[in-house]
């Protein structure tokens, strides 16, 4: 995840000579490109679950919504929380590039806490829905899509945690921010995906 994966010429050990510097044949940074391609994969993974949603709700016309109504208001608040965490994430990233240490630290902690809040509300919602995946196929799709997204939030939170650790150890700064930028891109993706999931599940 760090620039170190394209090794720089060996400055340390003199007796063993390292690889030559690779030619940079594109303007895109390789880590950023890597995470973008990975996000394409992730979108397809969600796509498959949306296909399941389509088949079960539209083709098979299984009763929708599962149970008696979904808590749209809660989910909307959750969407707002996640969106604001995207804003704070962006702020963290900008602060890192500007070298504003304090703002960066506050930013990453806020983002992390907002993410945790989202997860907490989501789990709480699960417990009060009144139906389980075993109830019906629609319920399975509901848990499938929101659960898949929840799993991504968990992964995103892990990445944020790592970024936070590195920030607090002073490893992130204007000249060394890829390690923050890449998890940031992933976090934005997780947030954007919630908007899509939210819209298809709760609104439509």
């Amino acid at each position: 995840m760090e620039a170190a994966s394209i090794p720089t010429p060996a400055a340390h050990e003199d007796h063993h000579h390292g690889p030559p510097t690779a030619n940079q044949s594109s303007r895109v940074n390789s880590e950023v490109l890597g995470i973008l391609l990975f996000i394409i994969s992730e979108i397809m993974l969600f796509g498959a679950f949306f296909a399941a949603y389509f088949f079960i709700r539209v083709v098979n016309s299984d009763a929708w919504p599962p149970g008696d109504g979904l808590p749209v208001a809660v989910a909307a608040i959750n969407a707002a929380i996640l969106l604001s965490s995207s804003v704070t994430m962006h702020w963290t990233d900008v602060s890192a590039k500007r070298g504003n240490d304090m703002a960066m630290r506050v930013g990453i902690v806020t983002t992390f806490l907002l993410g945790c809040t989202f997860l907490f509300i989501q789990i709480n919602e699960y417990l009060h829905l009144g139906f389980t995946p075993e109830t019906s196929a629609s319920a399975s799709v509901f848990f499938g899509l929101t659960g898949l997204h929840g799993a991504h939030v968990v992964i995103g939170l892990l990445l944020l945690w790592m970024s936070a650790v590195r920030i607090f150890k002073g490893k992130v700064g204007p000249n060394n921010h890829r390690g923050l930028e890449v998890p940031g891109i992933y976090w934005h993706f997780v947030d954007a995906m919630w908007i899509v999931v939210f819209t298809t599940i709760y609104v439509l």
Partner: protein, 630 residues
């Protein structure tokens, strides 16, 4: 001992795996106790959680995550290339970041699974040699052909191509390594995990997974626990190929040598570029299909339970949206290999280079529009069938462009018919046959009769054996001198080819006939009228299996004691042949610069790339300049 366990490696992997099992045991019983489920201990649940988690512990133990964890915990990481390159054979059993070592690891492991998968095929043929029951009961039989196909697809064809490309692709584009060497190592180590898991399913209570490589729901949902081994192993194999594909794409886009424009890339690079696009976009679908099966199996979800509103055909749509592109994932890299071999051994530029590149991309695009041709008799809505028939048949056009261009490449060349070339020429002919039977299958009215018969089995093997396997053989023989620094035995190579070629046809050609006559596939017993052909097929298949032993012998003996091969035995222009065999540990002393196309054979004085090999200076000052502009 304690020190050994702290070091990444097999001891730690073992310790971590045991720890993993204990954690899963705790997790399962703990959760069940917390939700007061009775009984607290449930073997199936422990097993299922272990299948998911223990591999992660193993990968951690062997050392795939060490660097990242150190980095993530904010410690200083120095890349001293300690885990780069192999100094002894032992290094091949460790986590290594050198694309050349990883390439060899990939190739050896996938061939290991090829031989196991082939052995399963021998069992299949032994059982089918005559009607009635020979060696295995019907359930074991279903398991045997399921594992046969699964191993050969997910642990042989797909990864062996990744292995070959891992070795030669960075060299070809003038890169010192792949873009993400540690991710590369992780991709590799997920393979033995997936393969072992599939084989272990034989030991599962109720037998191995036995629902075919397609694992259709609801059969796979109701099946015994062995099926979970498939469901989860496929996740690891899939994650492995996605990670490799990302790596190839980023490497190709960002690490080409100066002067290596897209249209100066060798076609193997183009082929892997296209394949990787397919992998990145399609593979998540098989992951999703198996996640859904797993959720249905383990947690009582209703995705495929029609009684509760589930949709069974949805499984097939999701599965084939991956698995049709997967058949091109299993062939496009082979197309690349064939282009390299033909140009070099016929001493001519690849005919219509640009169209060759564009037809690859066309196949990628079209590949996403045809999945339902596997579902012509599945009972899906009728109106999808005709559009899918048309898109499917259209794929013959870009594929035809490739076939014809290869023939034109041979035309008026100076053709040296040595082993790689025999496989390449054999491939063109056999794949054309398999492709044509594919176009016949695309024709819905015929498919309604022959779907799920031995006609399909014949098609599968003409495209996968006559297609993919032949290209793999061409590639292995072609790059063997580069990878090992030694020459294989040409005579044994030729015997291997001719035995394979003849008995491949005797084995699989009659399957077209018995298929149309009405023999269904996936059966351990069949009507007496097919007895004669099946006996012939079985005998021939054993000789086919024997031929692969010649190959094995040739490879092992030549690797150890074959004559030394020079750096460029084929007199090729592409960059990988301009460095020593095997290449130096960091590939180049300085990055080469590319000045022309890759196949300018016959053009007087043409050069593809300039490599200067300064004797001792580790870093050539001038070379970095090009990259600093960006």
């Amino acid at each position: 001992m304690a020190a050994k366990i702290r070091q990444p490696g097999w001891y730690r992997a073992l310790a971590f795996s045991i720890l993993g099992v204990l954690v899963c045991l705790g997790l399962s019983t703990g959760l069940r106790a917390a939700f007061s489920v009775d009984p607290v201990y449930d073997g199936t649940s422990v097993l299922q959680i272990s299948l998911l988690m223990v591999p992660l512990f193993f990968l951690g133990g062997i050392g795939c995550f060490d660097y990242w964890l150190r980095w993530a915990s904010g410690r200083t990481v120095v890349d001293d290339h300690a885990d780069h390159g192999a100094k002894s054979w032992r290094d091949y059993f460790k986590v290594n970041t050198d694309h050349k070592v990883i390439g060899i690891q990939y190739i050896c492991v996938s061939f290991f699974f090829m031989f196991i998968g082939g052995l399963m095929a021998m069992l299949v043929r032994a059982e089918l040699a005559s009607p009635g029951r020979q060696f295995v009961d019907p359930n074991t039989y279903n398991g045997v052909f399921s594992i046969h196909a699964t191993l050969l697809i997910f642990l042989f064809v797909i990864p062996v191509f990744a292995g070959i490309a891992n070795y030669v692709l960075p060299l070809m584009i003038g890169a010192p390594d792949m873009a993400f060497p540690r991710l590369n190592a992780l991709s590799f180590w997920m393979l033995p995990v997936a393969g072992t898991m599939m084989l272990l399913s034989f030991l599962a209570p109720g037998g191995s997974f036995a629902a075919g490589w397609t694992a259709y729901a609801p059969l796979s949902v109701d099946a015994p626990i062995g099926q979970a081994f498939f469901t989860i192993a496929v996740q690891f194999a899939g994650a492995s190929s996605i990670a490799t594909a990302l790596n190839f794409l980023v490497t190709i886009i960002t690490m080409r040598a100066p002067g290596m424009t897209f249209f100066r890339m060798p076609l193997l690079v183009w082929a892997n570029f296209s394949t990787s696009l397919l992998v990145v976009i399609a593979t998540p679908f098989i992951a999703a299909s198996q996640f859904m099966v797993l959720l249905d199996r383990a947690l009582g979800f209703n995705f495929f339970n029609p009684a509760n509103g589930g949709d069974i055909l949805m499984y097939q749509h999701v599965f084939w949206f991956y698995s049709h592109p997967a058949v091109y994932i299993m062939l496009l890299p082979g197309f690349g290999i064939i282009s390299e071999v033909l140009a070099t051994r016929a001493r001519k530029p690849v005919f219509g280079y640009r169209m060759m590149a564009f037809s690859l991309l066309a196949i990628v695009l079209l590949g996403f529009t045809v999945w339902a041709h596997h579902m012509f008799v599945s009972g899906m809505s009728d109106w999808i069938r005709i559009p899918m028939m048309i898109t499917t048949a259209i794929i013959a056009i870009p594929t035809g462009i490739k076939i014809f261009s290869w023939v034109a490449t041979l035309w008026r060349g100076v053709i040296k018919m040595d082993t790689p070339m025999l496989w390449a020429v054999g491939f063109i002919s056999m794949f054309t046959l398999g492709g044509i039977s594919g176009v016949m299958l695309a024709m819905v009215p015929l498919d309604i009769h022959v779907s799920d018969t031995y006609f399909i089995v014949a098609h599968i093997h003409y495209v996968l054996f006559g297609g993919s396997m032949f290209t793999i053989m061409a590639g292995i023989y072609f790059w063997f001198p580069k990878m090992t620094g030694r020459m294989y035995n040409e005579r044994l190579g030729k015997i291997h080819f001719w035995l394979t070629f003849v008995f491949f046809n005797v084995t699989f050609a009659p399957m077209h006939l018995i298929g149309v006559q009405g023999m269904p596939r996936r059966v351990s017993d069949y009507a007496d009228q097919f007895a004669t052909w099946n006996m012939i097929i079985s005998i021939s298949s054993f000789i086919l299996g024997f031929a692969s032993l010649i190959f094995l012998y040739n490879m092992i003996v030549s690797w150890r004691s074959g004559p030394k091969a020079g750096s460029n035995p084929w007199n090729s222009l592409t960059i990988e042949w301009q460095v020593s065999s095997p290449p130096p540990i960091f590939n180049f002393d300085s990055i080469p610069s590319v000045v022309g196309g890759p196949y300018e054979y016959g053009v007087p004085g043409a050069v593809h790339a300039i490599l200067d090999q300064p004797a001792e200076t580790p870093v050539a000052a001038g070379v970095g300049a090009a990259s600093e502009e960006n």
